[in-house]
Symmetry: D2
Subunit: 180 residues, 4 copies
C-alpha cells in the first residue's frame, strides 16, 4: 500500500512520547508561568494550556520532539553506533544537535523566544532539573532542550496574543470615548 501520512497519528505519538519519557504538560506549563509571570499579570495555567496546545499541534514541533526522543531512547538502550552512542549517552558538551532541534521548535513563534530558551535551559528550572539528573539511568540529552524550547515557544505565542488583546482593549476604550 502506498505510504500516506496520518497527521492525527503523528500528533498522538508526540503526546504519548512526552508522557512516557516522564514529562507532564503541567511541567511545561509551569516553566511558561515562570517565564511570563512578570510580563503578563494574572496569567493562569488554563490560559497557558490553551496556547501550549497550539504549539504542540505544529508539525515542525512534533517532528523535532519525535526525532529527539527517539535518539534519547536509542542511546539509553545502547543501540546507537559509536562514537555517537557515547556522545549522546554522556550529553557531550561539544555536541549541539540537541540545541539545533530545540531551536527549530522555538523558531515556530519567532526569534523573541531565543533568550527565554537559553535562560531556562541554563537555570535548569523546574522539570528541567529532573531531566538533567545524570544518576537515574535515563538519557534526556535531547528532551531537556526540547521541553525548554516548547516552553519558550509557548511564551512567545502568549506575548503575541497579549499584545493583540491590549490593542483590542485600547481600541474599544477609544471608541467608547468617541461615543460620549
Amino acid at each position: 500500500m502506498k505510504y500516506s501520512l496520518n497527521s492525527r497519528k503523528v500528533a498522538e505519538a508526540t503526546e504519548q512520547c512526552l508522557k512516557e519519557r516522564g514529562v507532564k504538560k503541567r511541567d511545561i506549563a509551569e516553566l511558561v508561568l515562570f517565564l511570563q509571570k512578570d510580563y503578563i499579570p494574572g496569567l493562569t495555567l488554563e490560559e497557558v494550556y490553551g496556547h501550549m496546545e497550539r504549539v504542540l499541534a505544529k508539525r515542525e514541533v512534533q517532528n523535532a520532539i519525535l526525532t529527539g526522543i527517539q535518539l534519547d531512547v536509542l542511546a539509553e538502550q545502547g543501540k546507537l553506533m559509536q562514537p555517537l552512542q557515547d556522545i549522546i549517552y554522556n550529553d557531550e558538551p561539544l555536541y549541539g544537535c540537541d540545541e539545533i532541534l530545540a531551536l527549530s521548535i522555538v523558531n515556530v513563534y519567532g526569534s523573541i523566544g531565543f533568550t527565554n530558551y537559553g535562560y531556562i535551559d541554563k537555570k535548569k528550572q523546574g522539570v528541567l532539573s529532573m531531566l538533567n539528573d545524570k544518576n537515574d539511568g535515563k538519557i534526556h540529552t535531547f528532551l531537556d532542550d526540547i521541553v525548554g524550547a516548547i516552553a519558550a515557544a509557548t511564551s512567545s505565542k502568549i506575548a503575541h496574543g497579549y499584545q493583540a488583546e491590549l490593542e483590542k482593549k485600547q481600541l474599544t476604550e477609544s471608541e467608547d470615548a468617541n461615543n460620549i
Copy 2:
C-alpha cells in the same frame, strides 16, 4: 505619551513599503506558483493570495521586511556610515545579513522552506530578476532575499494546508466506504 505599538500600522506600513519599492503581490504570488505548480495540481493565484496574506500578517515577517527595506533605502540615499554604505550599496558577496533576515521569514513556516528559498534566489526567477538589476540606480540588496523568502514561506504554508486537505478527503472517502 507612553509608546504603544499599533499592530495595524505595522501591517499597513509593510504593505506600503513593498509597493513603493516596486513589488506587487502578484509578483510574489507568481513565484509561489512557479515553486508549487508541480506539487499542487490546479493551484490558483486566488488560493496563493489567501495563504500569502497569512504569511504577511505575521509580525516576525513584517519586522524583517521593514528593517530590510529601510537599509536598502538608506543605502540608495547614501546615508549609511562607511564601510556599511559601500557593502550594502554594492550587494557585497560576503555580506550575509540579508540572507539572515530572509531566513527569519522562511522559518515562520518551518525548515521545509529553506531549499525553496535558496532555489529561487539563485535562479533569479520572475520579479527577482528585476530586483537584481544592478543598473537602474535602485538598491535591493535586502529586498530580493525578502521577496524570495515570502514566496518560500507561502509555499510551505500551502504544502501544510494541502496535506491537511488530502487527509480530510481520505477520511471522508473511508467513511463513505464504511457506510456502504
Copy 3:
C-alpha cells in the same frame, strides 16, 4: 572508566560513515566546483579538497553527519519507532529535521551559503541525484541534505578565502607601484 571524548575517533567515524553510505569526497568536491566555477576562475579539485577538509574537521559538522546518517541507517533497517519510521523511510515532505541539521552545517561558514544549499538540493545536482533515487532500497533522507550542506559550506569558505587573496594581491601591486 570515566567517559572522555576522543576527537580523532569522531573525525575518523565521520569519514568512514560517508564512505560506507556511498559518498566519495570527489562527489562533494564536484558539487563545489559546479557552484563556484562561475565565480572563481581556474578553481581546481585540489584546492576544493583543501577547503573541504577544513569544513569536515569542524566538530559541529561531524555531529550533524553522524546523527543524520544514524537516522538514515536505522530507518533503512526498520528500527525506528512509528510513525517516525514511516516518515523518515518515505522522506515525508513535511518532515524538516533533515533540513535543520543541514543548516547547522551551512552555518559554520555563515549565511552566504544558504542559497547555494537550497539551489543544489532542488536541482538534485551530481551525486544528489543518486542519493534521491527512491528505488534502490537505500534511505538517504538526511544524507542528501547533508552532502549539499557540506558543498555549500565549502563554497562559502572558498569565497572568503578568494576575497582574502584578491586583497593581498591588490596590496602587493599597490606596494610595487609605490616602489617605482
Copy 4:
C-alpha cells in the same frame, strides 16, 4: 572606480564602532569569564582576549555588528521611517531582528552557544545592564544582543579549544606511560 572590498577597513570600523558605543573589549571578556569560570578552571582575561580577537575577525560577526549598531544610531537620531523608528527606539518586545542578527554571531562557533547567549541576555549581566538602561537617551536595542552574542561565541570557541588541549595532554601522558 570599481568597488572593491577592503577587509582591513571593515575590521577597523567594527572595532571603532564598538568603542564609540561605549563597549570596551574588557566588558565583553568579563562576560565570557562569567560564563566559563565554572567549566575552565584558571581561565584568564588574557586567554579570553586571544579567543575573542578570533571571533571579532570573522566577517560574519563584523557584518552583524556594523548593521546592528547602524540601526541603533539611526534610531537614536530619529532618522528611521515610521513605525520602525518607534519600534527600535522603544526596544519593542515583539521585534526580534536584534535576536536574529545576534544569532548569526553565535552560530559562527556552533549551536552550543545558544543557551549561553540566552542566559546572559536575560540576566543583564555586567555591561549588559548598562546597555539596557532605558533612561540615558542612548538606544542599544541591537547592541545589547550583539555583545551577549560575541561573549557566547567566544565561550564556544574556548570550550572547543579546551577540549583539544585536554586530549593533547591525555595523549602525551599515555605516551609517557608507554615509554616507561
